[in-house]
């Protein structure tokens, strides 16, 4: 058993154990777990059957087999990072929507607690009510406190 086989075995087993443990503790959602499970399974397969890598490299015409491994590895990482950026963007959009909704709700609550008599019909002070025309900008308070 050569060193790289042992290293590969250790690496893949660590990843698999980590996935199972995180899943068990509800720290990892299935959709991410599936991705990492496949990564770990791939590493494990390559560790047990190193011939698979050399064979594929020969088939594809890659002179140094480990280069194929690096290429595939970086490709997988790239795709995963991209996926995370996508999820991050989606989350940002969702938190933004929530923040806006929260602000609007806070405004409604403040309005209702200040004007309990106007409780049944939520709405802003109506614009159609002709306010007293302010003669100067120093007395613009037309809304009831």
């Amino acid at each position: 058993m050569s060193a790289n086989v042992v290293l590969g075995l250790i690496g893949s087993v660590v990843v698999l154990v980590a996935i199972v443990e995180m899943m068990r503790r509800h720290r990892l959602r299935e959709k991410y777990a599936v991705i990492w499970f496949f990564v770990a399974a791939g590493v494990l397969t390559l560790a047990i059957f190193p011939g698979l890598l050399t064979g594929t490299a020969g088939l594809l015409g890659v002179q140094v087999p480990v280069n194929l491994l690096f290429f595939a590895g970086s490709l997988v990482l790239l795709v995963l990072t991209l996926q995370h950026s996508y999820e991050l963007g989606r989350l940002e959009e969702k938190t933004r929507t929530l923040a806006e909704e929260l602000a609007l709700l806070r405004l409604e609550i403040a309005r209702h607690s200040h004007e309990p008599e106007a409780a049944p019909s939520p709405g802003p002070p109506r614009a159609t009510v002709p306010p007293p025309v302010p003669t100067s900008a120093s007395s613009p308070n037309r809304k009831a406190p």
Binding site: E100, A103, L107, P124
Partner: protein
């Protein structure tokens, strides 16, 4: 309505407007319910004057201040002035603040939504003229007078950015748009409903991209000349590096806006208030 105000604190006299009024200019159409949305981020020095000025010039409009997570007394000042304040829990940028404003307007059934910045840059005396332009447009952008644009000190690179934006969007809109980065905007129900659902939060997205969204959704966009004032707060210094960065961001914002997938028509009133 007393439009010929003699004194408004913090407001420079605007001769162009007074001449407009004297030449039989418009008054605000009383049949429309107008909401002025004022996005404010750390504007405690100018927001009081901005609110007072809007009320003094347009007493029939409703105001909504969207406090974009300010760390200063912006929200308190606005509340003391009797304006409803929508406090965002953290800073979202102008896009987030405005989308909240558009949602509020859609829910409370306003006919017209106006964006006026809290820094005193936008002169609310132009509001009736801008609103009147909604007769043949869904979105009206208040842009600097042509003569003012040349006097307005901007670096050459920044001007190039503005030119690229203006040219591209003019072609899309089939009308002349000279300054699409202006935040002085008036939207009718159709545009407001669109913006309540889709309003970008990115830098420049709130102006450039939102215009593209409106055009893509089939809205008519027009512009109306206004006199812009110098900001009351300190303006960010215009170094060549900053200007170049602005150009890059403008191009990125434009390209993104053009290639992105946007809805073809304003969506049904998705954000309707539950009965």
């Amino acid at each position: 309505m007393d439009l010929e105000l003699t004194e408004v604190p913090g407001a420079a006299r605007c001769d162009a407007y007074t001449s407009l009024v004297r030449s039989g200019g418009e008054l605000l159409d009383p049949g429309r319910r107008v909401l002025v949305v004022m996005p404010a981020y750390n504007e405690q020095d100018s927001i009081g004057a901005a609110i007072a000025e809007v009320r003094a010039t347009n007493p029939t409009v409703d105001l909504l201040v969207v406090d974009d997570g300010s760390a200063d007394a912006t929200a308190v000042i606005a509340e003391r002035a009797g304006v409803p304040v929508c406090r965002l829990p953290y800073n979202l940028g102008v896009g987030g603040a405005m989308r909240a404003g558009y949602r509020y307007a859609v829910r409370h059934d306003y006919d017209v939504v106006v964006q006026i910045d809290a820094d005193g840059q936008h002169d609310p005396r132009y509001l009736p003229a801008l609103v009147a332009r909604l007769d043949d447009a869904d979105l009206v952008i208040g842009v600097r007078f042509a003569d003012q644009a040349t006097r307005y000190e901007v670096s050459r690179i920044r001007r190039l950015a503005m030119l690229v934006l203006a040219r591209t969007l003019s072609r899309m809109a089939h009308t002349r748009l000279t300054d699409v980065t202006s935040g002085f905007r008036v939207a009718n129900r159709r545009a407001a409903r669109l913006f309540a659902a889709h309003y970008p939060a990115e830098y420049l997205g709130d102006t450039v991209e939102s215009t593209v969204i409106a055009l893509r959704a089939g809205c008519t966009v027009a512009q109306h000349p206004v006199q812009m004032r110098v900001r009351q707060g300190g303006r960010a210094s215009q170094t060549p590096l900053r200007a170049s960065l602005y150009l890059c961001r403008a191009v990125v914002a434009l390209v993104l806006a053009l290639v992105r997938d946007w809805p073809e028509a304003p969506p049904p009133a998705r954000v309707e208030e539950p009965a």
